[in-house]
Amino acid sequence: MPVATNGFALGEMLAILLSRDMADGEKAIVGTNSDIQVAACNPRRQRQAPHLWWVSGPGGMTNPTEGIVRPAADAENIAVAQAVMDLPQMIDFIDWQVHFFDFAILGALQTDRFGNINTVCIGDHAKPRLRGPGTVGISALCGLSRRFYIMMTRHDRGAFVPKVDFICGAGHLDGGTFAHRSRPARRRPAPGGDPAWASSTSSPRARPCASSRCMRASHPKKCATTPASTSSCRRRSNARPPPTPKSSSCCAAPSTRPACWRASFRGQGQLKDPEMNNYHFEEHHLLLRDQVRKMVEKHVAPIASEIDENNRFPEELVEIFGDMGLLQLWVPQEYGGPGAGPSRRCAS
């Protein structure tokens, strides 16, 4: 991580920017292995927000006091946590309680000016140039936390793109009221539940401007070289803005109108399987993926919109998932379960 010339590290600056936005009594969720996030939470709680508390999502660690959170399975996390929750408890928090968390701090491979997040892949999903860690809890937290921060340690055109290659966390989707129109009522963000960015050169609070967002420069060194026009909101327009030098501060991304979110996720193109870049998949993984893909195309795609719009639990899918061995992976075969080993449990 680069160290700024005036003596503080990028991570330190990001931690301070995030820390300033946290309020006493708020509940937050950060990822695992999230050192900057924890470095923001710890001093805020010690100094200005004694009732701030946070959990490291996949690890289930509450208020880890050390300035580092190790990967989820590391038992050393327990020593520095005030409480530990198991995974089902975390899923319960994340998925089913609207606004349980006041804010989430999320990372991204890419983000765009509507605050959409991509952590899945760079390039075509079927043949990606780079695969990320996947969606994990981001898709739920974007809609269910009151606000969320997108923390970026890179600030260039590769990270801030006109349109993310894969939406795994919905910000304002296509901009304007699109997010509200396209989501079921219970998943709509509350007023003010907006995405904000924390990056190497911009403030966590992006300013609203019509249907799109841009960044406000706050880095002391970068601000000095930032044209005035780029540190304020920029109107949405179909014209491509003039190129800005790499690592200049502000970034209303070039305006190409993103494709419809539902169209891109539920369109037929996603289900027709071109050959995938399978450099890290075993043959049985590909077989499982193809079986699931066919099942999804046949049973899930036809009802996907309807179950969201009617807020309906898709009971008819439960038996189908069960017959495919996708449920209760821990159950041994002697009791009629899949008896999946660790690899299969991860893959499923």
């Binding site: 409480a83 929750m85 198991d86 995974l87 089902p88 408890q89 899923i91 319960d92 928090f93 998925d95 309680q97 899945v120 999903h125 996947g134 969606t135 898709s139 739920a140 996720f265 539920r266 996603q270 289900l271 998949f281 993984h285 499982l288 993926r289 699931v292 893909r293 999804v296 195309e297 899930v300 795609a301 009802i303 996907a304 179950i307 969201d308 639990f313 898709p314 899918l317 439960v318 038996e319 189908i320 998932f321 069960g322 017959d323 061995g325 996708l326 449920l327 209760q328 992976l329 821990w330 159950v331 041994p332 009791y335 009629g336 379960g337 899949p338 449990r345 991860c346 893959a347 499923s348």
Partner: protein
């Protein structure tokens, strides 16, 4: 939870959550602490999708925060 959930979530996040929340965890109390009879009865049903699993633990003032619960279980006298 990678391949399967991602494939389902491409089409429906709701359906992916169904698979995710019923694919691990919630059957563990029976698996670890149930009687042999309970295991024979429930585990197969849950794995085949003939019944759904859920955690029904709550108490006034604690919600699903099990660490704050005051109720304690013990052997009957």
């Amino acid at each position: 939870m990678c391949i399967v959930k991602e494939e389902i979530a491409k089409v429906s996040e709701s359906a992916a959550l169904l698979a995710a929340n019923n694919s691990f965890g919630l059957i563990l109390p029976i698996l670890n602490f149930g009687t042999e009879e309970q295991k024979r009865h429930y585990l197969g049903l849950a794995a085949k999708g003939r019944t759904l699993t859920s955690v029904a633990i709550t108490e006034a003032g604690t919600g699903s925060d099990v660490s704050s619960m005051k109720t304690r279980a013990g052997e009957g006298r």
